[in-house]
């Protein structure tokens, strides 16, 4: 176990700056998920921690050692790849012991460690097989085992579940979480799948354009996104955004819609005192909107509903609020007729309000 500290890290590919003065402190035993769209620099960051990429500026510390220029094998890290990256011509046992052989570990010790890791991952019957004889889920277990036998302090996962089908993905996700509980190792996990991020992470670092946009607990990221990018990226379907501006009426903050109507914002925790007339975007998640007849104390946005998507446990109702798309999640047993024009009610303390120009949370 070790903490990881990334200090003012910069990485350039030619003229392209992929990571921009990035700082990240990961506590001992913490499960950090790097979440972001393709090309946001999350894999680059992971590769830099692994030592597979040259750093342009800044430092990487693992434990109390500056490993910025250390070889991958000397960093105490193990890495699991999206493509599994198993050595095709070696058996499962051979795959798992390759690293130990490279480190000239005694043979009995290798056997002991491989057996132990195989037991933890429940792959004991597979030890004599070749990777080509394994299913995707089994391959990824072996890949995890390869890191496990080396007794690493930090596990690095590079989209490990992306190549698996939905059912296996869920299964292995739980497995990884269990592993983290059992081992208590520090884990850094890269994904573009927000479900993985929300379920696994102690803290999520949402990245975009080579910058960490927000570093917080999954709940915080979901409830109080710091900017419009994070709000829009996390959550499926995406948060609803409605354009308008802030209006102060009788000393109370309200949100003025383009059609002239205003929506009460009493109860919304502003980061700074609201300014009258400031162009803003109101964000509200689909499940925090209700369609009820009587909603005393709620705020309402008029929405034109067009269609219903039943999804089993719940249904998504799609429509438009002004110029933007709007979705509402309702209980699967409830029924709404479409098309219809309704008022979508929400509680202001569940909403997020962003500056229209900068996208920052207001």
């Amino acid at each position: 176990m070790a903490n990881v500290s990334i200090r003012d890290l910069e990485i350039d590919f030619g003229n392209l700056r992929v990571l921009k003065t990035l700082n990240l402190d990961i506590a001992e035993g913490e499960f950090i998920v790097l979440l972001g769209p393709s090309g946001c620099g999350k894999s680059t960051l992971l590769n830099a921690v692994a030592g597979l990429l040259d750093v342009s500026a800044g430092q990487i510390w693992i434990g109390d050692k500056n490993v910025t220029w250390e070889e991958p094998k000397d960093r105490g890290i193990g890495m699991v790849f999206q493509s599994y990256a198993l050595y095709p011509r070696m058996t499962v046992a051979g795959n798992m012991s390759f690293g130990l052989k490279m480190a000239k570990t005694p043979k009995e010790e290798i056997e002991k460690r491989v057996a132990k890791a195989a037991k933890i991952l429940q792959i004991e019957p597979l030890l004599g097989r070749r990777p080509s004889e394994l299913s995707g889920g089994q391959r990824q277990r072996v890949a995890i085992g390869r890191a496990l036998v080396r007794d690493v302090e930090v596990f690095l996962f590079d989209e490990p579940l992306s190549n698996l089908d939905a059912k296996l993905r869920t299964e292995l996700r739980v497995e990884i979480k269990r592993l983290h509980h059992e081992l208590g190792s520090t884990m850094i996990y890269v994904t573009h799948d927000q479900i993985e991020a929300l379920t696994l992470a102690d803290r999520i670092a949402v990245m975009n354009g080579g910058v960490i946009q927000q570093l917080a607990s999954p709940k915080e990221i979901y409830r109080r996104p710091v900017n419009r990018f994070v709000a829009g990226f996390v959550g499926s379907p995406s948060m609803n955004f409605v354009d308008g501006k802030i209006a102060i009426v009788d000393g109370q903050p309200r949100f003025a819609l383009p059609n002239g109507k205003t929506v009460d914002l009493t109860g919304y925790a502003f980061e700074a005192p609201p300014q009258d007339g400031r162009a803003a975007v109101l964000g509200i998640r689909p499940e925090q909107v209700e369609v009820v007849d009587n909603a005393e104390g709620f705020s309402a946005i008029p929405v034109d509903l067009t269609l219903v998507e039943p999804m089993g446990a719940d249904s998504l109702v799609w429509g438009r609020a002004g110029n933007s798309q709007f979705s509402i999640r309702i209980d699967g047993d409830d029924h709404i007729d479409t098309p219809a024009s309704i008022d979508a009610f929400f509680s202001p303390n569940h909403a997020s309000i962003f500056d229209a120009a900068t996208g920052a949370r207001l």
Binding site: E71, K73, Y87, P88, R89, G99, M102, A103
Partner: protein, 297 residues
């Protein structure tokens, strides 16, 4: 396992034997026979005595087949001043072939492995240009190479001609292996590095066991190419070490006495037998190799 219903594909069965098919096969058989005629003539002639050959019935089967011409070609035909047959040449050819093939493939594999990590923009064009090295007429290099080799006392020796073969095999071998290794997922290499593998450990323990197909292809190209070589053997090997091709030429072109067609034919077949066997045994691999090496960039 849940039971899955097995359904026959619907629609009429495809016709296996159509008129077009029959025509196609007929054409292929005739073409194959046509191209086999020279080989037939060679074999038939090599089994005839000279008297029978003088009759001029090129296609006739031998009246009394005998292997005399083969024995003569092998052990007593005159190659220039010596009359020891071409078996001397075969030994020389093997002495040249084995180290040349091993050397050019090993060096090509290592350089190809190293270059596979270097992926600048336009890498494929760059490496395509490298292949041009294999097409520059050899004659251009001859004189400088002779000078260089004689300076390091390798001229007129087997190590000399091996060296030349290895050098000229390099562009193609390097490209062949680079393309092969560039096609191996980079994650595999990264995983091995995390596991603590160095340049050589990864090459020897990870990459080489994966390389069987490309090594076979490289071996086929090099064995046939080097065995069939005439020019380098003639110039660099030295009089004592002439390879089989050069000695065959000497047998066939010896200017005194009657032309012994049967001996010539037998000697030619003997010389051709190594590449012939290689082609027969490895036809499938050979096609794959041409596809992998030349086209895939």
């Amino acid at each position: 396992m849940s039971s899955t219903a097995i359904t026959e594909p619907s629609g009429p069965r495809p016709k296996h034997l159509t008129v077009g098919r029959i025509g196609l096969y007929a054409f292929l058989v005739i073409a194959a026979l046509f191209f086999l005629i020279p080989l037939y003539v060679m074999i038939v002639t090599s089994l005839k005595p000279m008297d029978e050959i003088r009759l001029g019935n090129l296609f006739a089967l031998p009246m009394a087949p005998s292997l005399d011409a083969w024995f003569k070609a092998w052990s007593s035909a005159c190659t220039g001043l010596n009359c020891n047959g071409i078996h001397v040449g075969m030994l020389n050819s093997i002495k040249i072939l084995v180290p040349s093939v091993i050397l050019s493939i090993s060096v090509g594999a290592v350089t190809g492995y190293a270059l596979s990590f270097w992926r600048p923009k336009g890498a494929n064009i760059l490496f395509g240009v490298l292949l041009l090295g294999a097409f520059i007429p050899y004659q251009v290099f001859l004189y400088p190479l002779v000078r260089m080799l004689s300076m390091v006392s390798l001229y007129n020796s087997i190590p000399g001609v091996v060296f030349v073969h290895a050098i000229f095999g390099l562009p193609l071998m390097t490209l062949l292996f680079r393309n092969f290794y560039a096609g191996i997922p980079i994650d595999l290499f990264k995983a091995a590095r995390v596991d603590g593998g160095g340049f050589w450990a990864i090459f020897l323990q990870l990459m080489l066991p994966l390389s069987t197909p490309i090594i076979v292809v490289a071996a086929i190209l090099q064995i046939t190419g080097i065995w069939n070589d005439f020019l380098f053997g003639l110039i660099f090997a030295g009089r004592e070490n002439f390879p089989m091709t050069v000695q065959l030429n000497n047998v066939v072109n010896s200017s005194f006495g009657e032309k012994e067609y049967n001996v010539n034919m037998a000697a030619t077949i003997l010389t051709a037998i190594v590449p012939l066997v290689v082609y027969f045994v490895s036809g499938r691999w050979f096609v794959r190799g041409i596809a992998a090496g030349a086209v895939k960039g």
